[in-house]
Amino acid sequence: MAAILSVKDLRKVYDGGFEALKGVSLDIEEGEILALLGPNGAGKTTLISAVCGLVTPSSGSVTVGGHDILRDYRAARSLIGLVPQEVVVEQFETVRNTVRLSRGLFGKPRNDALVEEILRKLSLWDKRDNQIKELSGGMKRRVLIAKALAHEPRVLFLDEPTAGVDVALRKDMWDIVAEMKADGVTIILTTHYIEEAEAIADRIGVITRGELLLVQEKAELMRQMGRKQLEVQLTAPIETLPASLADFGLEIGQGGETLIYSYDTHAERTGITKLLNAISDAGLTLRDVQTRQSSLEDIFVNLVEEDA
């Protein structure tokens, strides 16, 4: 299947000479959810802005649905919806008028039923005739989402959609994203909440300093990069590690009651059998044993640190 969004060697040098994107290439399949992770200033927003037409690329090419974003911008952009990172709204306009404007700008005929459906889904229907300045911050962010949905995009960019949003709305957001995915919409989102990427993304991309470090299936990434920890709880606490256990790189936790062993799931041998044998040889008795998979957050932190 052809990629719905294809970015090739995209570079962006801002007017001041700062190179915010250093040759990013990325293919996104129709209907997938891609989460872009990266520290502040990594270039996530610049990447999205270049695809959406807010920023002129310095070199490289981007196609959306096979349409070049510069040469064939009408066809390309009519597929795209954007929810910007900053909450920018026309304070004195009503919610409904603003959402209608979005639909019009994309050349779609007026459709009040659809606008109603979207506003209801985002719990904004009660506020439809309020001026936007009368809404709370989270509601304003929802207005931006409503505006993007109003023109029925096939590819939706969400730039930190859940920053400053309460827990309930965050869950609502995830539901909306899932629903859109079910309708075949492709979604690219950026987030600093790694558990969010973990919860909803199919693939994860990591950007630092204008470079795409990797793009991978979420499950694959977790498997490849994931380190596991084996936690052994002892019946009696120990103060120092017996000499026979010195080579395992163990940490002692909880006042000597637990031993923590880190291992790589992909290593030829994990060394678990050897460790457990050595523990029993040392005369220690076990109360409990458990393993823990490192989270995406750990993986992310490791990646970015390695790069730095």
Partner: protein, 253 residues
Amino acid sequence: MNWIAIAAIYRFEMSRFFRTIMQSFVSPVISTSLYFVVFGAAIGSRIDQVEGVSYGAFIVPGLIMLSVITQSISNAAFGIYFPKFIGTIYEHLSAPISFFEIVLGYVGAAATKALFIGVVILITANFFVDLNIAHPLAMVAFLVMTCLSFALFGFIIGIWAKNFEQLQLVPLLIVTPLIFLGGSFYSVSMLPPVWQTVTHFNPVLYLISGFRWAFFDMADVPIGISLLAIALFTGLCLGVIWLIFRTGWRIRS
């Protein structure tokens, strides 16, 4: 051409106007009345007639031009500056519309508002003086062309401006003086010869003269030259806008 998008921009802009319709209506009525009181009564008592037209009537075309030009500029400049300033322009930039369509939407709305105010002034003026418009069609055409060309000009200012001061700068420092010195309230023939020559370098003179011709069939410069001047000005604005469009100047980084 994405007509739906142009109409959407136009409607959205006009809704701002309608929200403050009373303001938009009352202020030109009051200021026109004031002009009639001050200029018509004070000066009119000294200058009885200008080339066979009562002074009160004589200033009507200039009054209308003064308001229509400043309104066209400020409406269009503010109209495009505001979304740039608050950031909502992102939506226009990401929409499948050309820069030209954005211009049409904003300039169309700005010109409409100015036209509305011009008509309000004309009607108000009717209560003070008798107006027999010699060439009604030409009058309307001149009015519409002025609204459009100065809205284009205002649009450029709105794109160019980096802050609110700059937004005010050109209208206040250049345009308003040009209008006042362009024969709004006097006939150029009333000036000493040197100043007559100087005044002919003022582009606004050609507009006001042409507009006055449509009212009273009398002009400071031949009507053909007036038409040429407004066509040139419109062409110049369109050219600049085309350049902005090509380069994305001050819109896209």
